[in-house]
Amino acid sequence: MTAALATDPAIRIIGLSKRFGDRVVLDDVSFEVAAGEVVAILGASGAGKTTLFRCVTRLAQSDGGQIFLGEHAIRTLGGRQLSMARSEIGLIFQQFNLIRRLSALDNVLVGRLGEVPTWRVMLRRFPHPDRQLALAALDRVGMLPYALQRADRLSGGQQQRVAIARALAQQSRFVLADEPVASLDPESAKSVLSILRDIARERMIAVLVSLHQVEFAIQFADRVIGLRAGRMIADRAAAAFAEADHRMIFAT
């Protein structure tokens, strides 16, 4: 029984579909991500990766299927419950989405906004434990020496590491990263992806990451899901991912 609980998937997507007018963007997509697991979604642009992420965070409502993040049934939540569920999701974006004029530390503290009282946020007086949490998160991604640097003075790779620290400070159980390394050079990309993989292991976070480079997916993910024109055409252990899958996903 305990064994069954331990392998209970953290993210569960069942028969998800989404249309924009007549165009089917997601067609019967089903997969699971376990706690501590990194799952990569591979697909050409337009394959439906971003739409999938938007459905999981409910920035878009899907047309059918079910989405579970832990105990939250995302598709049917509303108002207060939805924002509680969202506060457990750490989001990593291609463009980092840091507040440019604030320091790295202040950006990591964004991860605490959901918990800290409004008046404290407005006066920028975060409680000691929250500041400690943010500093620890910065330390974990190797950005502690840059804590007081303005975000727009950091390189792309450094900014993305600050964004990961923001998700850590948020104490997310789920991390969704939509093309997190698409604007980074290969070296920074590798360091960002290895941090993502390591924090998944350490903190039992379920990480769903979309990529378009096959070699990164194979190197850093536990499982790879292939998406093509909104349909899942592969779901394999990264080690078993084959050249044939690659060709199928990116065939034109």
Partner: protein, 270 residues
């Protein structure tokens, strides 16, 4: 025949000898001439009258020298009053504009239903000049700078809120979305993620409006709403051109100093 490097000759895009372009040019020219014709007709433009009025102007100019500095102290006090009116009036504008600009900015408005009426309200405030507001307030609260301050405040509220909401709409949406998705409420997102991004811009806009208000405060005295304009009107009424000249010099000096100071401050912000 000339050809490109690879020996290929590129045909020019087909163009008829007399195409749409000349016709459109002639039509535009006619329209512009029509607008000018009507405009000059309506303003009774008459060089002859200017010509016959010139000696009168020259006569006054001669009488304006030397400028009358006997009341310099009072006039400078009035100039300071003018700047003070702009400071208080702009502040009233800021206080009214702050809540309004949130409703009038598409990306953070709490209600799409309120957005359009708020835009209309702000356009109305902006459309009515401080001068006209001051005229009404002089009737309501009596002569003096207080009426002028209220006039400036209402008109500035419209201008500031409109410019602020545009600056807010130009803010990067990504960081706001990222902050909102952590479960933070609207107030937290606005104060923590939006404000640091747009604050330099908002301050710069406020300074610009203040600078503008110093200039518009100088004429408010004409309707009895305080400031140096009141002295200016008195001098014109009494045909006291030496005193008038002093007042104009003071206004010039004041506006130049304020403009330079405000421009310097705005440069430092960005």
């Amino acid at each position: 025949m000339r050809s490109g490097d690879a020996g290929v000759s590129y045909p020019d895009p087909a163009r008829s000898w007399i195409g749409v372009a000349p016709v459109r040019f002639v039509a535009t020219l006619l329209l512009v001439l029509l607008v000018y014709g009507f405009s000059f007709y309506f303003v009774d433009f008459d060089v002859g009258r200017l010509w016959s009025g010139l000696p009168k102007l020259a006569h006054w100019a001669a009488k304006a020298w030397p400028p009358d500095t006997s009341e310099l102290g009072v006039l400078i006090e009035r100039a300071i009053e003018t700047v003070a009116m702009a400071v208080v009036g702009t502040t009233i504008g800021v206080v009214i504009a702050a809540p309004c600009c949130i409703v009038a900015a598409q990306n953070i408005t709490p209600s799409r239903l309120l957005y359009t009426p708020m835009r209309w309200f702000l356009n109305t405030l902006r459309g009515i000049d401080s001068f006209i507001f001051a005229l009404l307030f002089v009737a309501a609260v009596g002569l003096g700078p207080f009426a002028g301050v209220l006039g400036i405040g209402l008109h500035s509220a419209g201008t500031i809120a409109k410019l602020w909401s545009e600056a807010i709409e130009a803010a990067e949406p990504g960081p706001l979305e990222a902050a909102a998705l952590t479960g933070a409420n609207r107030l937290k997102v606005i104060s923590y993620a939006l404000l640091p991004d747009v604050l330099p811009n908002l301050t710069s806009i406020t300074l610009y409006v203040w600078e503008f208000n110093v200039r518009s405060s100088t004429v408010l005295g004409v309707v009895g709403a305080g400031g140096i304009g009141q002295e200016l009107k008195n001098s014109v009424d009494l045909l006291d051109f030496a005193r008038l000249f002093t007042i104009i010099l003071i206004i010039l000096a004041m506006v130049t100093v304020i403009d330079q100071f405000s421009a310097w401050l705005r440069r430092k912000l960005v």
